[in-house]
């Protein structure tokens, strides 16, 4: 956490012009990504995926299958990278950790009464500690959106700081649930609060609320990260989650990342996609790039 005297007044967070930010975001989609840039981009995107299953009906079996997929995305295409992490509920962390072994693929756990966050702080802390004790490398927490919308910024700040402490060595991703914050001004303010309170990542969404990640929302957060970096010298990672299921859209996000934060952020330490179906679309595009023809979806495993 950053010393109190440097914490800014969050009600003074910079404003965002809705028309301007949406125009800028759409400008990235005009970039034409071809040939080797495309193949490199697609492989990088694969390597940035947090392969996710967050369902009430999740079982050990389902999680094991997903972990196998994480390590063997498409064996017909040798030399592919693995995904960055598997994202599961705390109860599944142990299974995932065992299945992934020493592959280097991380285990992320959603904690703090995900997805609503409507629980007392001590419950959230226990939830977090439980996940960490079971071996989670990363914790995806949700902020208390109700408190945030009430203007209780100190409450939100303190809660993030407390969870960060509970994380120990695990990296903390702070989910803003931008679909519930609605305006870009609020997304920017919540980003600033999360970063100053100790977030390692800021993340758009749980995937349970629509709209989830959008390019303009992600751009607001990337710009917040850039301003924070210039102010403090500390790098913060970014994770858009939910709604990114096409390879082309993933490439647009990478173009945006590259032009806002630059090449230091172009790896899975500093950027992730929270997605479940994105991987297969990327695989399909990679095979198309290599063979010249599209293959049927039946050739790509669904896990």
């Amino acid at each position: 956490m950053i010393a109190t005297k440097t914490i800014p007044d969050f009600s003074l967070s910079p404003h965002v012009d809705q028309v301007g930010i949406e125009e800028r975001a759409s400008r990235f989609t005009k970039r034409s990504i071809k040939n080797e840039t495309k193949v490199n981009g697609l492989k990088l995107a694969l390597n940035m995926i947090d392969l996710t299953t967050l369902e009430g009906k999740d079982t050990d079996g389902k999680v094991k299958q997903l972990c196998y997929k994480a390590l063997h995305l498409h064996d017909a295409y040798p030399g592919l990278p693995t995904v960055a992490a598997i994202c599961v509920y705390p109860s599944m962390v142990k299974v995932a950790k065992t299945a992934l072994g020493d592959s280097g693929v991380k285990v992320a756990a959603v904690a703090t009464a995900f997805p609503s966050g409507q629980a007392p702080r001590d419950v959230k802390i226990r939830d977090t500690k439980y996940a960490v004790q079971n071996g989670a490398d990363e914790i995806d927490m949700v902020i208390s959106r109700g408190k945030f919308l009430q203007g209780e910024y100190n409450f939100v700040f303190d809660e993030i700081a407390a969870i960060k402490e509970a994380c120990g060595e695990a990296r903390l991703k702070v989910i803003l649930e931008t679909g519930e914050l609605v305006t870009y001004d609020k997304v920017r303010r919540a980003s600033d609060i999360a970063m100053y309170a100790g977030a390692d990542f800021i993340k758009t969404s749980t995937g349970k609320i629509s709209p989830a990640a959008t390019m303009p929302v992600t751009l607001v957060m990337l710009e917040a990260i850039r301003d924070f970096y210039y102010k403090t010298g500390k790098k913060i990672a970014m994770k858009p989650a939910g709604g990114i299921s096409k390879a082309k859209l993933a490439l647009h996000y990478l173009v945006m990342l590259n032009e806002v934060l630059g090449e230091d952020w172009m790896n899975n330490e500093w950027f992730r996609f929270g997605a479940s179906s994105l991987a297969n679309d990327i695989l399909m595009q990679l095979m198309k790039q290599r063979t010249g023809v599209y293959q049927s979806a039946n050739y790509f495993s669904i896990d």
């Binding site: 404003h15 210039y230 500390k234 590259n258 630059g262 090449e263 230091d264």
Partner: protein, 492 residues
Amino acid sequence: MATKKNNTIKLKFDSARNLAPAPESKSAAKIDPQYELFINGKFEKPQSKKYFPTINPATEEKLSMIAEANGADVNKAVTAARNAYDKTWKKMPPAERAKYIYRIARMLQERAREFAIIETLDGGKPIRESRDFDVPTAANHFFYYAGWADKLEYAFPNRRTEPLGVAGQIIPWNFPLLMAAWKIAPALACGNTVVLKPAENTSLTALKLAEIIQEADLPPGVVNIITGAGATGAAIVNHPGINKIAFTGSTEVGKIIQRAIAGTNKKATLELGGKAANIIFDDAPLDQAVEGVINGIFFNQGHVCCAGSRLYVQESVFKQVVRKLKDRLETLIVGDPIDKNTDIGAINSRAQLDIINKYIKIGIQEGAEMYQSSCAIPKKGFFCRPTIFTNVAQSNRIAQEEIFGPVLAIQSFRTDDEVIEKANNTPYGLSAGVWTDKGSKIFNMTTKLRAGVVWANTFNKFDPSSPFGGYKESGYGREGGVHGLNAYVNIV
């Protein structure tokens, strides 16, 4: 944890600029080896028997040979326009005129890709801009004014209007097709006939438009498109058969035209130079303001009369804005205009590149601090890195004179009154931009800035329904919107 302020950190953007080539296909556009004059509905060889080359400024390769119209050719074109006016166009029911204009608009849309490619090859502007801005906006102008043709009584309630006659129209090289559309569409809608001369560097899309006009079956002589340089333009201006001059170009030439038509009953509209002030207040959404500044000065390589070439930043956010500008500058891709990823294409001509370089030198000599993007630029062709100057004063020449290139002069200010005074302290008055989160401040500024267009929290936005034109030495008369009709009618 490190909380120390670090001023040495710098983001790295090399990989953002190094994308695999994504060229638009040149073969999708057909360019003839030689183009004639379009007079009385036919392509005719010039009586001057002379042709001049037109080149691709990005490669310096010759694209085609263009006919040079002399006095006799101009006379022929004006006579054709006069006949068409008297015998057909003036008498035609307005709804019929509208049909022709709609037809031009639709055909332009159908051939949009071809026009975009030729505009880029001939003028050097990025294909992204000619594809997404020039060609669609040109088509929209035809659509818009086609709609007015039979509704002039609503534009001028309780008044009767009549057309002026033959309009002589001279357009610049920065938006060749779009300027042709701005000129031709309202003239035709109001019942005038036209003799149009594109700039000598960029004749191709106007000649392609002539092909469309021919295919659209417009009555012969209603639109005549003749090519040539200054002498051809002078012959149009001085021809006694012309009733109206519409000119877009430099203030210098505008003054010559003004003198030439003094004492005649020719009407005129002049759209001339500019040195627009873009003003950022400390409460502005800074990232979007920076993006607006970038679009304001680097759009079309800064070859825009309303370009935001002077930037005023409130002192409390000055450093932050300049840092953001420099970062954004690094991500601009400068290179082959035909590549879909190019942000800044080629300077239109060697002469213009020389002028820009001259001003960059002047800026340095005057003690201003220059910053240029670290990008590489092609060895062949006319290119200029995007350039910003800080440590600039109101009395610097780079802050006073129109450069017409990708060069931005940045000054700081403290109070609202100060910036209004500085922004208005120029012989020009074409456009201005205001960036603030406060609505009341916007209205205060817009009433006090002496500029034809004031954009708030955006820049370089154009729409056929919105009038455009200048104060002071930026010219007079308005183009676009209902106001644009005024320039082509007598109200009786």
